[in-house]
């Protein structure tokens, strides 16, 4: 069992890791075809894994409803919403529109799902304001630098701000193009090296905690 749980996955990781790292340097159509096939496999595996996810979701909320835990009503709403959408989706053959006419499934998506998603995204504006208020209080030297830089950039990015303080346009561009871009690139270099190092560890089996099941 330990062979199947540890050695086989590590061997698969080693082989596929080396093969697909090498694939980057092979422009031959056979190499591209191999990558396309494996990407399709991943999509198929992902599709099957969705069954795992949905069963987990059903189980967690079924337990909540059965035990009448706090907020079990939300779990009930989830059940109604999910089963209702599945039923409507099957009834509409999974189509959002037929001959230009919106189906019930399309209606649920366009008039329930999309506005709800939009609402969540719109909350971001208010959260940015509250986060900015908390962060921009000049309680320390670093916060003061952040506040000054933020004010300059905000003024420089808004036509009225640039009209009131003409220098803010050039200054904000300088902050974004020089200070901000250089720091971002430094972070990206670190991230890239970290990614490569982690990949090497995984390919050669030095990092195996993601497999679960201990070190041996």
């Amino acid at each position: 069992m330990i062979f199947l749980r540890r050695q086989v996955p590590l061997l698969i990781t080693l082989i596929t890791g080396i093969v697909f790292a090498a694939q980057y340097y092979v422009p031959h159509p056979a190499s591209e075809q191999m990558l396309t096939s494996v990407t399709k496999w991943l999509q198929i595996i992902g599709g099957f894994a969705l069954v795992l996810g949905v069963s987990s979701l059903f189980h967690v909320h079924a337990v909540k409803i059965r035990r009448k835990e706090a907020g079990w009503g939300y779990s009930f709403v989830l059940y109604v919403g999910m089963l209702g959408t599945i039923a409507v989706g099957l009834w509409s053959n999974g189509k959002e529109a037929v001959d230009g006419t919106m189906t019930a499934f399309g209606w649920i998506y366009n008039f329930m799902m999309v506005p709800l998603q939009g609402t969540m995204f719109a909350i971001l504006a208010f959260f940015i304001a509250s986060a900015a208020y908390r962060s921009f209080r000049a309680r320390s030297r670093e916060a003061a630098v952040l506040l000054i830089a933020a004010v300059i950039v905000m003024m420089g990015r808004v036509p009225l701000g640039e009209y009131l303080i003409p220098l803010s346009g050039d200054l904000s561009q300088w902050i974004l193009n020089v200070l901000n871009a250089s720091v971002r690139r430094a972070i990206l270099i670190g991230v890239s090296l970290g990614t490569v190092a982690l990949s090497i560890k995984i390919i050669f089996g030095m990092e195996r905690s993601y497999l679960g099941g201990g070190k041996e």
Binding site: P27, H28, G46, L52, G53, S56, Y74, I200, G214
Partner: protein, 426 residues
């Protein structure tokens, strides 16, 4: 006054002479005899399969000529087969001014450039009325057109075919081997002697956060990010989850791990189970601690926000890669008064994490977390390897800046040879 200018008659004579001369020049330039003597066929035409590609492409190269200017035009002609009865009947597949398309403008690095920089070069690819079949022979040539004259070089033959190696990316491979070697060397060193690790406050705070949750009798919320297990940041988040789960098992604190990806959920279930086993508390492990919500970005965000508001976790961990949901999650968490620790390689979300979380692991610190928490020689050695790699890149940046500046100041090409090695390393 007399000596300084011409009179009216003198001026008109000068103008007349000028126009006569101009007329002669224009007339001569339109003379067929002169055009034929000045317009020679493009010289040294070579055609070959474009190297380091997936096939379906040919490259043609020819020497510069005295008539290279915006007024003259080059045409690239193509026909199937190796015999061409009439080159003038070949299909024109490209036309451009004669002062364009030089080898020096191509993206080939110096170690794969097929000719010197001043040579003309054109690469024919499938598409836009051209269909090149791999393994089929083609005749290809170049014509020059000036005014109404057109001169065609002798056609040459070439066959497109796919290649097994992209030599243009050899610099990338070389640097990958170099970095890999450095990492292995650093791991070897770490096994022999202890390596200093600088403090990472965000990771020091992990114990504090779990301890606080234990004291308050509240759960810990751990998120693994928006990507699936194919992303290194998610793998790093899953590895840190193992360490966090071990501590929560030891303290007997509840752990909540909502997921966006079912495969990540399955992997994290295994990791969490193992962590509880290693902590000697397998009975405390709950399969439901890792649960799937949805793959949809904002539905997931709304669900996690709801969990934060209802269960009020004492500590929130945001590890992995995030998009617009980052601020929605962390700001909600901040409003509940939880200790928040974030770790992400998403540079565009870092400002949001920094402003709303108590501690943030910036970029590579996410990958360093595993080493920092475990202190295993292999992990610590990898970190040292990364640091050496960064020092190397820093050095190259400095040397490259000096070389590029010298190249411009002295107007010389040799610095480009060095700069090319580090160019386009992805």
């Amino acid at each position: 006054m007399r000596g300084k200018g011409l009179g009216v008659r003198g001026k008109s004579r000068a103008v007349a002479q000028y126009f006569f001369l101009a007329a002669c020049v224009i007339g001569l330039s339109h003379s067929p005899a002169l055009a034929q003597t000045s317009l020679t066929p493009p010289q040294d035409v070579r055609a070959f399969d474009t190297p380091s590609d997936g096939g379906g492409s040919l490259t043609v190269i020819w020497s510069p000529a005295s008539y290279d200017s915006a007024a003259a035009k080059y045409q690239v002609l193509l026909s199937e087969g190796t015999t061409v009865p009439d080159p003038a009947a070949m299909k024109v597949v490209a036309e451009f001014p004669a002062n364009q398309r030089y080898v020096r403008e191509s993206k080939w690095p110096w170690w794969t450039k097929p000719a010197t920089g001043e040579q003309h070069q054109f690469t024919l690819r499938n598409g836009r009325g051209v269909e090149l079949k791999n393994g089929a022979a083609y005749s290809i040539t170049v014509a020059v057109v000036l005014n109404d004259d057109r001169v065609i070089a002798t056609p040459v033959q070439a066959t497109p075919q796919p290649n097994w190696m992209n030599w243009n990316q050899m610099n990338n491979l070389l640097l990958a081997f170099l970095f890999g070697g450095i990492v292995f060397y650093a791991i070897g060193t770490a096994r022999k002697r202890e390596i200093f690790l600088r403090r990472i406050p965000g990771l020091d705070a992990v114990d504090e956060a779990i301890g606080r949750a234990t004291e308050l009798g509240k759960p810990i919320l751990y998120l693994t990010g928006a990507h699936d297990m194919s992303d290194p940041s998610t793998i790093a988040a899953a590895v840190i989850l193992g360490r966090v789960a071990k501590r929560t098992a030891a303290y007997g604190t509840d752990l909540l791990v909502p997921h966006r990806d079912p495969i990540t959920m399955a992997v994290c279930q295994e990791i969490t189970k193992q962590a509880y086993l290693e902590a000697g508390k397998p009975d405390l492990y709950k399969d439901d601690s890792n649960f799937f919500i949805t793959s949809d970005q904002f539905s997931y965000t709304a669900a996690v926000d709801g969990i934060m508001l209802r269960k009020k976790p004492a500590a929130n961990f945001f590890m992995g890669h995030y998009f617009a949901e980052a601020l929605l999650l962390t700001e909600t968490g901040a409003s509940t008064g939880a200790i928040q620790i974030a770790g992400t390689d998403a540079d565009h979300q870092l400002p949001f994490f920094v402003t709303t979380c108590d501690y943030t692991l910036i970029g590579e610190e996410l990958y360093a977390a595993s080493a920092y928490l475990s202190r295993e020689p292999v992990q610590v050695g990898t970190l040292r390897g990364q640091d050496i790699g960064k020092a190397l890149i820093l050095g190259v940046l400095g040397v490259g800046t000096v070389l590029a500046t010298l190249g411009v100041m002295l107007d010389v090409q040799w610095p480009q040879l060095f700069l090319d090695i580090f160019k386009d390393v992805k």
